[in-house]
């Protein structure tokens, strides 16, 4: 197993362990009072892509934010504290699950409004291009977000200005309970929209972390070399409900059959990676078990720290609505 392969699998296991730990506690405790979109089952996309980026590259995501945040190296303790609404959270408890940010790690932000962050990534790439910095912006969004006008406007802009931005569509085939076929023309793919702008693109098995990583590396290098943007459509599936920790088939009248969910669980990206590596690395299962233990412990510690941390002080409620009033702002009240 190469060190890259090792990292990819390890990152997936870490995301899985953190997410499952949080999902369990989320349901049991009802203390993370923030709507939370888990990426369990979709770990390969974030792990594969972010490993292709440098720390100085910047990732933006939509609401399904934990996995890209962690894969990009976002601070775990700060994320967990954010979910618990603590002042030590990565957004000081103000943003919650959908508004993560870790600037030091190059996680530029996640947002809850569909399609909103896609142009933001383009703007970051524009700034890089203006500076001549060899940096790349990446943006994760879902199949559903690609229906928003901003998606198209952003692709067009990026292509006109040949900006270093990788568009990463995590096509998990649903927008909440709506299947793709109710929302986009059957027989088409999202990458075809990118092709309409002449943008290079690839359609990749989003559960094959090695394939994702290979495509991500190509995309990032394409951008970094000044060739303009790149589009990736990664087909994957979420195992849990859209928002929250539950399983869909826990619920009556689910919008997707249990057999469908099961077929994707059978295509677990971690298990798939292990299967692919086992011949060359017979110890892979033991390694994964060890990582599993390590990361569940790590997640547990993060939870402990988050619980021990303080809530924000209510007297600071207004802080950050505006910049500090330093340079001669008038006496008017906002």
């Amino acid at each position: 197993m190469s060190s890259v392969q090792r990292r990819l699998v390890r990152d997936m296991v870490r995301i899985r362990c953190v997410e499952e730990t949080l999902a369990d506690l989320y349901r049991e405790e009802q203390q993370m009072r923030t709507p939370t979109h888990f990426s369990i089952g979709q770990e390969a996309t974030s792990a594969g892509i972010c490993a292709a980026a440098r720390r100085t590259d910047v990732v933006y995501s939509g609401h399904r934010s934990h996995a890209p945040y962690l894969a990009k190296g976002g601070d775990l303790d700060a994320m967990v504290a954010e979910l618990y609404g603590k002042v030590s959270g990565c957004a000081r408890g103000r943003g919650g699950s959908v508004h993560l940010m870790d600037r030091a790690a190059g996680f530029g932000g996640s947002a809850a409004i569909l399609g909103e962050m896609i142009p933001v990534a383009v703007g970051a790439a524009w700034a890089f291009a203006m500076e001549g910095a060899p940096r790349v912006a990446l943006t994760f969004f879902g199949d559903g977000a690609s229906e928003e006008g901003t998606f198209h406007e952003a692709l067009n802009f990026a292509m006109v200005h040949r900006l270093p931005v990788v568009f990463v569509c995590e096509n998990n085939q649903y927008s909440i309970a709506s299947p793709l076929s109710a929302r986009q023309p059957p027989g088409t793919s999202i990458r075809e929209r990118a092709q309409g702008y002449g943008m290079p693109s690839r359609l990749v098995d989003g559960n094959d972390v090695f394939a994702v990583h290979e495509a991500g590396t190509e995309a990032v290098e394409w951008c970094r070399s000044g060739n303009g943007p790149y589009f990736l459509e990664l087909v994957t599936y979420r195992w849990r409900e859209h928002v929250g920790p539950g399983w869909d088939h826990d619920q009556a009248g689910g919008y997707r059959p249990k057999s469908e969910v099961d077929s994707w669980i059978a295509r677990c990206p971690i298990r798939g990676a292990a299967d692919a590596l086992r011949a060359a690395d017979p110890d892979i299962d033991a390694r994964i078990d060890a990582w599993d233990a390590e990361f569940r412990a790590e997640a547990g510690r993060a939870v402990e720290r988050a619980k021990a941390a303080a809530f924000p002080d209510v007297r600071d409620l207004l802080d950050g609505a505006y910049e500090p009033q330093t340079h001669g702002t008038g006496r008017g009240r906002n």
Binding site: R33, G85, I176, F311
Partner: protein
């Protein structure tokens, strides 16, 4: 009269209007799914099926324009957003097109699109999933903007909307969805622009819309026990606004508190204060008080969120201040989200 919850009242109005008028259809992201926008579109889907309760792509601006086009051809679209915040994306279609259609094309017919937006405080919804954009839309002539506070009005205002020839926005607060009240079984329209005295009183007038009416009534209960008599005015619609009812009440009490789930500046609270300053300034024995969220986006963290959202406690404190009482004597009330279980 039999009781329904607020969400059931919306559901019933929808089904009855669809039965009465084959032109009515429901469209929105997820309106056909199992959760059916907190249950409000579920019965309609079960009865009328996917040809009249229609899931749409995540394309708010185009969908609003599409609704305008369908309405111009005689259909009656009822567009639904699980969060009112998404309506900023369709601001152009609503404000530059739907609101102006009848006028700018020379009064040859309107585009009666009805748009429901759910204001979803829930918990931890944060800065972009819990806003109440009523005043932003209320600024524009050509629209009606209704803010039902009771189950009866949730039904009656929706019935009125679906019979109107003008585009209507209905902003519903999720905090009210489980509230029960008497609701007429028939689809009786409640006219826009006619407020209601939700509770009569003599010492202070609280003018409110939507959830804040409920909170004001709780505040009135509390203050009644302290010997303060609060009159609660539920405006029902913020455009048109029942200026007369507001002014009559303030003329009687001499004290005005305006409560809103959105910010003070350029908001509902500003307009109500202006109406009074314009019409009955002399009636004001004390300065007007606006009870609104503080001037920051909505935070997620629970203690901040509790401090952010105005409620019965903050309304009661403002009333007490105006009657010369001690605001700090107001006991902390249980919020409307108490008992709420996540994740939404």
């Amino acid at each position: 009269m039999r009781k329904l919850t607020y969400w059931q009242a919306i559901s019933e109005a929808t089904v009855q209007c669809m039965a009465a008028d084959p032109g009515v259809f429901v469209a929105g992201e997820g309106v056909d799914d199992d959760k059916g926008i907190y249950g409000t579109t579920r019965a309609a889907y079960e009865r009328f099926g996917s040809s009249r309760v229609i899931d749409v792509p995540n394309s708010e601006n185009a969908c609003a324009g599409i609704a305008v086009g369908a309405a111009a051809m005689g259909r009656r679209p009822l567009m639904v957003h699980s969060r009112a915040d998404f309506m900023f994306l369709e601001m152009d279609a609503l404000v530059n097109l739907a609101a102006k259609w009848r006028y700018m094309y020379g009064d040859q017919g309107g585009v009666p699109v009805v748009t429901r937006g759910v204001v979803g405080r829930g918990w931890g919804q944060g800065a972009t999933h819990s806003q109440s954009p009523q005043s932003v839309f209320g600024h524009f002539p050509g629209l009606y903007v209704a803010t039902p506070a009771s189950p009866a009005d949730a039904k009656g205002l929706l019935v009125q909307a679906l019979r109107s020839e003008t585009p209507v926005l209905l902003l519903e607060n999720r905090g009210l969805y489980q509230v029960e009240g008497d609701v007429p079984p028939e689809p009786v329209p409640v006219p826009f622009g006619r407020g209601r005295v939700a509770r009569s009183g003599t010492d202070v007038t609280v003018v409110a819309a939507s959830l804040m009416v409920y909170e004001a009534e709780r505040a009135a209960d509390l203050l009644a026990r302290q010997g303060v008599s609060v009159e609660v005015i539920d405006v029902r619609s913020i455009r048109p606004l029942d200026d007369d009812l507001i002014c009559e009440s303030v003329a009687k009490t001499g004290r005005l508190v305006v409560a809103d789930t959105s910010w003070a500046r350029y908001g509902f609270a500003a307009e109500v204060a202006a109406v009074v300053a314009e019409n009955v300034p002399d009636a004001l024995r004390r300065p007007v008080r606006r009870v609104t969220p503080p001037d920051c986006p909505a935070p997620v963290s629970a203690p901040l969120e509790d401090a952010f959202h105005p409620d019965a406690g903050s309304i009661a404190a403002a009333c007490l201040e105006l009657v010369g009482g001690d605001g700090s004597a107001v006991p902390r009330l249980t919020g409307v989200t108490a008992g709420f279980v996540g994740p939404y």
